[in-house]
Symmetry: C2
Subunit: 343 residues, 2 copies
């Protein structure tokens, strides 16, 4: 089967965005603040939003299952305080859960956290626990910069993040390191902030020794690892200057790169540089780049085509990238799939 | 000949750093502030610092000429005010000028600017004029983030930067877009901030229409363009979503990527994706990554080896990357070389 480790609910019914806008208005004027119960989205609306979008394209492209989390750019952790983020995260996570119940063969949920700038990450744990134990989430998205492009949180190797990591280890779930909307005019959200965050995370992990403290902790670095694979020589060299172990030992037992790289040369580079065991199929469809590449006639984000055409990969490699690695990195996904198969 | 478009004076005599530390102390306590005349570095010291370092390695590697600018991480525009930056830039630029006079066949100077966060970029013009008209500088380094990792300046497409661009057009000189030290704990200077800045600059240029206003303006994006070539499909797709022209027209008449990518797969990707006319040889030697790659036995930053081994390039391509493109992008370099050859 083909598992897409990186999908967001970017096509939720418009009522969701309207409710969020109301909530944002309510930050300034409490009279405007909507109740959670004010948001009404029917199952039919959810079904329609998925069938005509993600599921249609998954079927066209031959993808079986998507790890499905709330829309990344809508997390917008910089808006409001913890209570605002907490209410918003609960709503978004519930919608992904409902999608996973409506389409159990095709969508498995991944949680967003109610992060808020300057707030202890440990405050996110109750939402995470609910998502894993009640909603069947198999992973989470962790935002290394809840400020939205001002980078006011400590690096991912800082002990401030450890409560999240302890819970991840306890649940045996990985985190995708994924920022949200940039509110810094220098950084285009999907063209600069997303990619920079990936690169930044890799370098933070090189500088630190996080996986000594958490040997079983696992991170997925999205968008093909930002700039890291392209500059792998630089990173190997910097690790050497910093007297760290070689990256194969220092990072590659714990970090994984998705295949959200939207052209053949990029995917070929990724698979030339990064071992197969560290590559997870992903497309982030429907996401930042929705158009058709005039050079190929195919969707930019139809990343399966690039994997199929990548000369460095054989059939077993492709199995690992499409399915095997995801089952290993997301053990709760594997358990879910095995339980279903046994029925 | 082989022209390295990206070299910094990272090996200046220790007296320079001592003077700078004194200057930084003087920001808090004016009694400590040193005079420019307090810095004494002899020609012999300059010669020694170059002969035993850059020139030795250039000879070993077969490089003829380096475009030589003050140490990027020492620019540290975030320190002090405009006056502090102005004095510091003048000192650093004069040292590179002296090196170029001592080794005229091997080093041609490129200017740093006395940028300071929140200060009008136009204040940098007198230093730039001096460097070009008196010191023979053929280009400049422009820091898109003088705050050092807080990104408080407007994007490069903002009109605030236009006075610099007008002067660049008048002098027909290109700018390398190069940040300095990060004082944001999230960003390792050479592993995250440098690469992120490159990526950020490319995306800013995609979002804007700067080259409509300045059709002859030229930028060199260092470090192989950050993440941009690896994610070229993403950037082509985002330009399409933004209703911009194709990148070949929107960017590639005005921006160039150096070859500071420290492994063979990265250089191969760069030259597979980016047209030869847009690639300039560079190594940033002696820079961030000074070690020997245990996988090859050669220096990570010996980028000529990767160009030599790149299967996509033929002899004429290599001539363009080593020399032809640099002469075109830096017309004052070409004029300098032609004037010398005519003697």
């Amino acid at each position: 089967m083909i598992i897409d480790c990186h999908g967001h609910y970017t096509t939720a019914p418009k009522a969701l965005e309207a409710w969020r806008n109301q909530q944002i208005a309510g930050i300034q004027d409490p009279v405007m603040m909507p109740k959670v119960a004010d948001l009404k989205i029917s199952d039919d609306e959810l079904i329609e939003s998925i069938q005509s979008n993600q599921l249609r394209l998954m079927t066209e492209r031959g993808l079986d299952l998507t790890l499905f989390s709330p829309r990344a750019s809508f997390m917008a952790h910089h808006i409001g305080d913890f209570q605002v983020s907490s209410t918003w995260a609960a709503i978004c996570n519930e919608l992904c859960y409902r999608v996973s119940q409506l389409f159990p063969d095709n969508f498995v949920p991944v949680a967003m956290l109610p992060q808020s700038p300057g707030v202890d990450p440990a405050t996110c744990i109750p939402e995470l626990e609910k998502c894993v134990t009640q909603y069947g989430n198999v992973g989470l998205n962790l935002n290394p910069d809840p400020s939205g492009g001002h980078w006011t949180s400590p690096p991912l190797t800082d002990r401030a993040w450890y409560p999240i990591y302890e819970k991840m280890v306890e649940f045996d779930i990985p985190a995708m390191i994924h920022v949200s909307t940039s509110c810094n005019a220098c950084f285009h959200t999907t063209g600069a902030h997303y990619i920079n965050a990936d690169t930044t995370a890799v370098m933070q992990l090189i500088q630190g020794d996080l996986f000594k403290d958490f040997p079983s902790l696992r991170f997925v670095i999205p968008h093909g690892g930002g700039a890291a694979p392209y500059h792998w020589g630089r990173y190997r060299g910097l690790a050497q200057e910093l007297k760290k172990p070689v990256l194969a030992d220092h990072l590659l037992n714990n970090i994984y790169f998705d295949t959200c790289v939207y052209h053949q040369p990029g995917i070929d580079l990724l698979n030339r540089v990064i071992p197969v065991k560290n590559v997870l199929f992903g497309s982030e469809m429907i996401g930042a780049v929705r158009g058709i590449d005039p050079e190929t006639g195919n969707y930019f984000d139809d990343t399966k085509r690039y994997i199929e055409s990548c000369p460095a990969l054989n059939a077993d490699d492709r199995y690992q990238i499409y399915e095997g690695n995801a089952r290993r990195v997301y053990p709760r996904l594997d358990a879910t799939l095995k339980a279903r198969a046994a029925k």
